[in-house]
Assembly symmetry: C2
Homo-oligomer: 356 residues x 2
Amino acid sequence: MKKLINAVDDVLTEQLEGFALAHPELNVSLEPFFITRADGATQGEVAVISGGGSGHEPLHGGYVGQGMLAAACPGQIFTSPTPDQMIAAAEASHGGAGVLFLIKNYTGDVLNFETATEMLHMQDIAVQSILIDDDIAVKDSLHTAGRRGVGATVIIEKVVGAAAASGYDLDKCAALARSLNLRSRSMGMALTSCTVPANEKPTFDLKDDEIEIGIGIHGEPGQERVPWQPVDEVVARMTEEILEDAGYSRTVREWDREAGDWLERELVDEPFAEGDQMIALVNGMGATPLSELYGVYRKLAHICKDKNITLARSLVGSYITSLEMQGFSITLVKADNETLTLWDAPVRTPALRWGV
Amino acid sequence: MKKLINAVDDVLTEQLEGFALAHPELNVSLEPFFITRADGATQGEVAVISGGGSGHEPLHGGYVGQGMLAAACPGQIFTSPTPDQMIAAAEASHGGAGVLFLIKNYTGDVLNFETATEMLHMQDIAVQSILIDDDIAVKDSLHTAGRRGVGATVIIEKVVGAAAASGYDLDKCAALARSLNLRSRSMGMALTSCTVPANEKPTFDLKDDEIEIGIGIHGEPGQERVPWQPVDEVVARMTEEILEDAGYSRTVREWDREAGDWLERELVDEPFAEGDQMIALVNGMGATPLSELYGVYRKLAHICKDKNITLARSLVGSYITSLEMQGFSITLVKADNETLTLWDAPVRTPALRWGV
């Protein structure tokens, strides 16, 4: 294992120290781990907070800042953060208008954010949580009941963060996040595995001429291992699956503030159709050259054009990664005018910035 | 060789097509290859133009846009662009205030930009060129007489692009670029090699427990291969060399517009000293996780603080890459108030954006 690290036990602390030094506009707490804006809570603005295992940088810490997240809670590498982190982050960053947790659907994350939700409720902090489960590759997986949460997280954090900054209240922010998730679909693939520092060995093995379609962001198994194929064929398969996927239904638990208890809600994905406009993310898994991602985007754009689907906005780069995995994912989020206006709104974070 | 490509011969064209589709605010010419702003030449603004072999993305195409480059000329992978690209780019992007070529010091790039300079002069377009040679690792190398041009290029393109946008004339832009280069120092290292698609094999071999210090951005040999070391030790070695390096002297050829001929100029680096403030770039080589770059930044910041050197601004990410090489480079550019003001000025390019 060759990595740019010192002792394995110090990796996360040292990387967060470096992050803090490079970004004085943010506050980084190392005990417990959480990241907030250095200028404090914005009074009257819903605090949009996310978190999850580390190893997916810039997600989530790189999205803390004006117009996006109020706080992020990094767990150890590929390990859920704990409720105390979430509670401390919420206490430090909420501005009296409530807290919205955006949770990628992994069992540990869900459990711990649920605990934090209950504890904040007991502290009389208004709280709501929305689950993100956009990965269409597999239903149920290692660490996941139902679909995994992946690339849509970046787009939902941006759009809902902008909504909070523009004055949406907690219920409206939650409704927007829920709606965005139901019109988001993603799929990933890998050329190579990543290596978790504490494990010292690659998470999985792929032969020199093999790729894995449908991989998860922790190297969890996907749909299929196939021989290497030209990128156009891989992109075509993934894009068709994303565009044709429809009607996925799941039962989610959402917090009912009035009842002080959990409410089950049946949610069904909104299908994509000709004429839709999308925000597209072509995402590198951590070790993928940017140039190759543009090769992916080319084919994605051609297919969408043929199907009369407009890629109204796009991001091409490594935005939700898996350490040094090579590969990419595609995310499409169906966007109405409200979504695009919020997408275009100013944002100032380490990893996404424009307009300010 | 597993890459996200189709046929090897189509790689550059297809990736540039994808780049064009993702960035409608830019124009991409495929015959010959060059990239300009879609809204045309800015009248009265010096056109700052750069170029070089592809495989270093986002350099240079990702830096075309308001407040930075007027145009970029991508060559084939790790291969110099040709004079016809440079001339076409200059013709398409100059706004009557002249053209400044920023040239990374590689023999092919220098020769071809010199030819383009002479041809533009014959067309009565005012032109000037400045050589960038910030890599202190080795003097003379594969493809290079003298030092190589590396990470400082990103910072010089930003600062001089801002100067052009704010109304500096051609001579002032050239003088600024020359001055910045004399106060820029960089060094890189690699954990793994890259593979040029046409070669189908890694450019070099490193053992599983070996790293190379002082590597070039094409995988050219560096100073030394050593056993893997903790990142702090590697960063300490590189940072000390960068901070202590001083007095490098070289003879450069610069174009004399009045004489219509080349002028030799002796240029000597400005030393770094206690109390200096810097713009710092911690740069990934293409396949390096962002999280590990923050580990690098941490140690760099600690060393600079101990030496009373202020990292006034910083960039942490993959800004000048070597395909899918793993490793990093450090660049420090001594910054006065003019430099920082220009650094902070609005920029809107695919890879660097703020304030707009």
